[in-house]
Amino acid sequence: MKRRTLFKVTTTLAATLVAGAAFAQDSIVVGAVAPKTGPLAGGAAVTHWPNIALWVEEVNERGGLNVGGEQRMLEVIEYDDQTNPSETIKAVQRLATQDDADIILAPYSTGLNLAAAPIFDKLGFPQITSSAATDQIGELTEQFNDMFFLLGRSTDLAEDAVEVLSDLREAGEIGNKVAMVNVADAFGIELAAVGKPALEAAGFEIVYETSYPLGTQDLSPIMKAAKAAEPDAFMAWSYPPDTFGLTEQAMIEELNVKAFYTAVATAFPSYGARFGAAAEGVMGIGGVNTASPEFQDYAARLEAATGSKPDYWAAGMMYASLQILEEAIETTGTLDMAEVTQYIKDNAFETVMGTIDFDDQNNNTAYWTVGQWQDGEFKGIKETGREGAVEPMVKTGWE
């Protein structure tokens, strides 16, 4: 409790200093729970936490949120769920009942968001997920009415990647042979289960196909076998550590395919930083319109405020979810969550990722599915209704 009082004192102090106003209303308590430790801590440290820090800082700098004519500062309470669904549930409960949080932000990842969904539903908080990809959006939002999905369906993510290959083949850039591998873990299995039939339906010949366990330390046997199959394109439904590992092995084995695709973490800035020019032409899950001034401005602000660059997939969506919440609260002028939720359902929002308008299943139907490293940026090349997609390019070696 001490920590909170201290926090309150500092925020109030800041409020008086910044706004120069003599009155300091009760601050708005914002609850945030996501991994700081455990298997997903690495992803959350890139995609989730910096956005919350930026948002709270910016809102408080301009004097807080305007709720029904009163300027109220944000006070954030952060909890580490240790990548454990039980802890996520407990932390959300704690935020609602012990900390009297006015707003609770959606947790991180598909699994933790779904574990928290019944609690959000019971408490009546809107849960705008920005890092959950699932095919069950309809079923889920039917059961949990206040749940929103920004990141899209996993089927689209996999099918669009296949479509990019088809387009390249139609253009005569690549041949018909594909090597496909996947990490044998939840999302990797799901993507592969969609990707394989999609490849077959598109008439591709799968010359090599395998899965590997999460945490495989040596991926060279896989890359050697993939190379021996002489594919024209390489697709990996991969997770962060192996996305890096597969790329490095491909360089070492000199797998000079014209289309190279790895999934999660290809859009991380650390991917570009590690592989530099070699990353040029690598395709991956996600993407953004890097040319949009809104995104560029957001990226610059995020880096200035937190020292970390946004990833080119879910980070922008995370920030967009905060913008949506902010707009809904300020426009309705209330912290009554039922009203705020209804507003989110009924309206369209201008965000750093462009316009977001949820359909009747609370799904954002316009999102990026495939991106590609071009000129040092991971640019969106395939989408389900976003503007600014660039033409995919053919990968020319690893130099």
């Binding site: 590997y212 962060p240 590992g245 650390s270």
Partner: protein, 288 residues
């Protein structure tokens, strides 16, 4: 042929992971579950120096080794010595050590997150192909293999030739008898523990050139190390090296010939088979 070389190179990596634990468990009788965290700390230092000052990880190890030695010596003296004194028998020490070092691994993860954050860290170092017998291999992995070879050979020679090394081996075989011939067992145990920690941290610095890590990944390495040490036989460097190579070649064989999805299952199956038919490990002595 390339299965054999790839397997050997992977085995070298495994030796780097497990060698330190073998010293710690074999000599000091501490089943150190914080072994993986020590490895990640070594990797963190290498990563930081490389990204900030472009210092080659191969130079970093000369900084990491003495630092880790001192750190582990302190850990042993402050935290583990009381347990050794308190334990009535080896079984009790084992239980206490497992629990303490598990707690310690938490503390280390906590400190790393506090100091560096939870982000992934990876960098590119010697990520070039090198051709051996007509096949491509990652230069950084080959270099790591050479490091492992040098480390193994050095350790083996030192243990067999030098006086201090012989004394350490004597403690590994029988602490009671070692005491009778005038060996200062507590002092040597502390040194062996510190040395083991230094070896692990060096291994981490080398491994960071080709693996992507974050603050929470240590436990994966601890598991691998435990399996290798038990397979090889406790307290014998040769056993650990052999077990590391067997595991490396075994996993590569399964990945190349059967299915990469089954590599870890195969590793554990191998582990059980060895335990069932040779419970003391390749080079271990039968418990008396």
């Amino acid at each position: 042929m390339d299965i054999l070389i790839t397997g050997l190179i992977l085995g070298g990596t495994y030796a780097l992971i497990a060698l330190g634990l073998n010293l710690q468990y074999g000599v000091s009788r501490i089943m150190n579950l914080a072994n993986g965290e020590m490895l990640v700390i070594g990797a963190f230092v290498a990563f930081t120096l490389f990204t900030v000052g472009q210092v080659s990880p191969l130079l970093t190890i000369f900084l990491v080794a003495p630092l880790a030695y001192v750190l582990n010596w302190l850990i042993y003296r402050i935290m583990l010595r009381p347990l050794v004194n308190r334990a009535k028998n080896r079984g009790m020490l084992e239980v206490d050590a497992i629990l303490t070092t598990f707690g310690l691994s938490f503390v280390m993860v906590g400190i790393m997150i506090w100091a560096f954050g939870g982000d992934y860290f990876s960098y590119s170092y010697l990520a070039r192909p090198i051709v051996i017998f007509g096949d491509n291999f990652g230069l950084n992995r080959v270099v790591a293999f050479l490091c492992a070879a040098v480390l193994c050979a050095g350790l083996f020679l030192w243990l067999n030739v030098s006086r201090a090394g012989m004394a350490i081996r004597a403690v590994a075989v029988s602490p009671e008898n070692a005491r009778l011939v005038g060996i200062d067992v507590p002092k040597l145990s502390a040194r062996a523990f510190a040395l083991g920690g230094a070896v692990t941290a060096v291994g981490g610095a080398v491994i960071s050139t080709f693996l992507t890590l974050d603050a929470s990944t240590g436990v994966m390495f601890t598991m691998k190390a435990l399996i290798i040490v038990i397979m090889g036989g406790v307290g014998d460097v040769r056993g650990t090296i052999l077990a590391a190579l067997v595991l490396g070649i075994g996993e590569t064989f399964v990945a190349s010939v059967i299915d990469p999805g089954l590599t870890l299952v195969a590793a554990y199956a191998l582990f059980i088979l060895i335990l069932l038919f040779r419970p003391q490990g390749f080079f271990g002595r039968k418990p008396t």
